[in-house]
């Protein structure tokens, strides 16, 4: 059974069967990653371009590794948006890449909507590796995979995303995907970091991290983005750490096992303490490994679709 779409633009509108198919396929590839020879010939002869308009070494390396494990030919095209704005327009850049006869494009861009726009000007399969503060579907899928791997299910779980929700692309994809899978999703953060009308997506909102810990099975702790004018929205990192930081003291208060995720890179001692980040309940490094498997699954399912 193939995926409904030939692109992965986001988890909004991606149905449950497709999410399950990706997670199941990822399980197979996860096993491949444990073998001595971690390579399969599935995408031999396919060319994939990693088109990154915004630096993100981790995501790019994860995609690149997934492509190599599937035996695809990989090209990395990393550029800053400002240079495309100056001379060559974004569309020219894409047309040029298209002319090289590529089969798939993995795109990361500062502007929401770019992956969708790509589907209109390119024939390649498009995979969204993060567009603005919109979606980052493979990140959410690997989060879901990691939760399921540890807790055996998604349905009925109470999962809270903690941090700067308004400026996160991970949050929205997680909300869409987890809601589709029947989880109870909530967010927690300073109210200045919660986007307008978010509750209308069926999401519960916490501004008290203790309450969030108390009422949830999973915390997905986001990196506090220091670079995005955070100063307008929180007084200081110190205040954030003191009131929203996930620490052992907080977890111990409720004496419960709560699964901790973090998409990385971690600001240790800010949104999460080192003790928690390295502690018994976290799956942070598993997420990294699972990320490769998820990206392999997505590349495989889209690349072999037609």
């Amino acid at each position: 059974m193939p995926l409904a779409s030939r692109h992965l633009l986001g988890l909004y509108g991606t149905n449950r069967e497709d999410i399950e198919l990706i997670l199941d396929t990822a399980r197979t590839f996860r096993e491949v990653l444990e073998r001595p020879i971690k390579k399969v010939p599935t995408l031999q002869g396919k060319t994939v371009v990693n088109l990154f308009f915004e630096a993100s070494t981790r995501t790019r390396i994860s995609f690149e590794l997934a492509q190599k494990r599937l035996s695809a030919d990989t090209i990395n095209f990393t550029t800053s948006t400002s240079s495309t704005k100056k001379g060559e327009t974004f569309k020219d850049t894409v047309r040029n890449i298209e002319a090289m006869k590529v089969d798939m494009i993995v795109v990361r861009h500062e502007s929401a909507g770019v992956p969708l726009f790509l589907t209109r000007i390119s024939n390649a399969n498009i995979i969204n590796a993060g567009d603005g503060t919109h979606e980052h579907p493979t990140q959410a899928l690997l989060d879901m995979y990691s939760i399921k791997e540890k807790l055996g299910k998604l349905e009925g779980l109470r999962i809270c995303i903690v941090g700067d929700i308004a400026h996160s692309r991970v949050a929205l994809s997680n909300i869409y995907g987890l809601t589709t899978m029947g989880a109870n999703v909530s967010v927690c953060g300073p109210s200045t970091m919660i986007p307008h009308s978010l509750e209308r997506l069926g999401v519960k909102i916490f501004t008290d991290v203790d309450k969030a810990i108390q009422e949830n099975d999973v915390l997905n702790v986001l990196r506090i983005q220091l670079e995005r004018k955070a100063g307008d929205r929180i007084p200081s990192l110190r205040e954030y750490r003191n009131y929203f930081g996930v620490t052992t003291e907080r977890l111990e208060k409720f004496n419960k096992e709560i699964l901790i995720l973090h998409p990385g890179p971690i600001n240790r001692g800010i949104e999460i303490s080192s003790e928690v980040a390295d502690g018994p309940f976290q799956v942070i490094l598993d997420q990294v490994t699972n990320g490769v498997a998820i990206r392999m699954a997505v590349l495989y399912l889209l690349g072999t679709k037609n």
């Binding site: 909004y12 948006t81 704005k85 327009t89 974004f90 569309k91 861009h109 500062e110 502007s111 929401a112 909507g113 770019v114 969708l116 726009f117 567009d131 603005g132 503060t133 919109h134 979606e135 692309r169 929205l172 986007p195 307008h196 009308s197 978010l198 209308r200 997506l201």
Partner: protein, 429 residues
């Protein structure tokens, strides 16, 4: 040359005319009004416009003609062609050109460029030097050169104290300040804030960005007894503020664009940059409030905010793409389709919003339809059905979200300055 206009209903609410009768125009002047005699047909070219209205030429008080500076996007001539094709005989052009309309030379340059055209172009000058919000522009000089209003459109006038001075200063010659109402501190977004911006992950602009400046402007206008016109009003709260200000007797008027009474933020779901404008498309509630404001007179007129942008620029990534759409050639059709045929406004109100009120705000006399007057007329069929085709637009740019939209109501001819645009051709009359 004599031309005869037949079969049309002459309508000018200001003169209390609403009758089906004929007109003779001789060398651009109305020479006869009423039923014609046999002898009148001698040496005259007859134009039959059945089922149409003939009204004082339509006027759009908010267009961007891009010249000087961005002649690749529009010129005074192509913008005027576009205006005529849309049924307008007059436009007021905004000063955010390069250089800005902040010297008498630029005002005169625009006047000269448009002199031979059917469409009259009235420059609105910058309120501050280079539109920087740092010091008043030479307003008296600009006014004497032909500027008919002052605005920093694209931005609100930067500070309340400067705005107050602008009000005080233009009072000396009874001119008007036209404000683009947007609080700068909220201005880095790409669409209206709400559930749609949240679910699309696009940086939001809250509607209070508009409301705050409308309120500031009302308070400042009241204090300094100034004359304020609110450009492209779009938010429900802002409309209510204007309604209350009018009740208090403050000298305030407002305009709305066709896109703000036709489209909602739902359109943004396509990430099509032709739906990216400023003020942004808002909610259904706001659209209803715009229509209500037009109905009860809170909003005096309809203006296109015609904003040509090249395809290349509109194809930038969403957050980088420029704001705005062209509108001169769809305004009449959208107004008739959305407001007249949906019974929100009657035909007299439509003519007030599209012809009489914008001129009143700018103190330009309404063209009179009577013998001895220069013919400045728009003839349109309110029931003609047509499909918008951007490839046929006279504007240099094609950035319209209304391509392929079916509209009811179409311009048939415009007449002004001894010229007539009919069946896509300018004819000397």
């Amino acid at each position: 040359m004599n031309i005869i206009i037949k079969g049309t209903t002459i309508l000018n609410p200001e003169q209390n005319i609403n009758e089906k009768t004929d007109l003779i125009i001789s060398d651009g002047v109305i020479s006869k009004f009423g039923n014609l005699a046999e002898s009148d047909y001698k040496n005259a070219k007859v134009y039959e416009f059945n089922n149409s209205y003939c009204v004082p030429g339509l006027f759009d008080m908010h267009v961007h003609l891009r010249e000087p500076g961005r002649e690749d996007e529009e010129t005074i001539i192509t913008g005027s062609d576009s205006a005529a094709a849309g049924g307008f005989t007059g436009v007021a052009c905004m000063p955010n050109t390069n250089p800005a309309i902040d010297t008498a030379e630029v005002v005169k340059f625009i006047k000269e460029k448009s002199q031979q055209h059917l469409v009259e172009v009235f420059p609105i000058a910058a309120a501050t030097q280079e539109r920087k919000g740092e010091g008043l522009s030479p307003m008296i000089e600009l006014f004497e050169a032909g500027a008919i209003g002052f605005s920093d459109d694209g931005n609100a006038i930067k500070s309340a104290s400067l705005l107050r001075n602008a009000f005080e200063y233009v009072k000396m010659f009874d001119s008007v300040i036209i404000e683009h109402c947007e609080d700068e501190s909220f201005a880095d977004g790409a669409m209206n804030e709400g559930i749609i911006s949240t679910s699309l992950g696009l940086p939001p602009i809250p509607s209070i960005a508009e409301d705050i400046i409308v309120m500031r402007d009302i308070i400042t206008a009241e204090y300094s007894n100034g004359k304020i016109h609110i450009a492209h009003i779009s938010s429900k709260n802002a409309i209510e503020l204007v309604r209350q200000a009018k009740k208090k007797g403050i000298n305030i008027t407002a305009e709305a664009t066709p896109h703000h009474f036709t489209l909602t933020e739902e359109s943004l779901k396509s990430y099509d940059t032709n739906y990216k404008m400023n003020p942004p498309l808002r909610t259904k509630e706001d659209v209803d409030a715009v229509i209500e404001g037009l109905k009860d007179g809170t909003i005096d007129c309809i203006a296109s905010d015609h904003a040509p942008h090249s395809i290349e620029e509109k194809e930038y990534e969403f957050i980088y793409a420029p704001n705005g759409i062209i509108g001169l050639e769809t305004t009449l059709g959208l107004t008739l389709t959305e407001l007249y045929h949906k019974k929100h406004l009657n035909i007299v109100q439509i003519i007030e919003k599209l012809s009489i009120n914008p001129r009143k705000i700018l103190k330009i006399p309404t063209p009179q339809i009577k013998e001895g007057e220069k013919a400045n007329l728009t003839i349109f069929d309110p029931n003609s059905i047509w499909t918008v085709d951007i490839s046929k637009f006279k504007s240099k740019c094609k950035n319209s979200p209304f391509n392929n939209k079916l509209l009811t109501g179409k311009m048939l001819a415009v007449i002004n300055k001894n010229k007539m645009l009919f069946e896509d051709k300018f004819i000397h009359i």
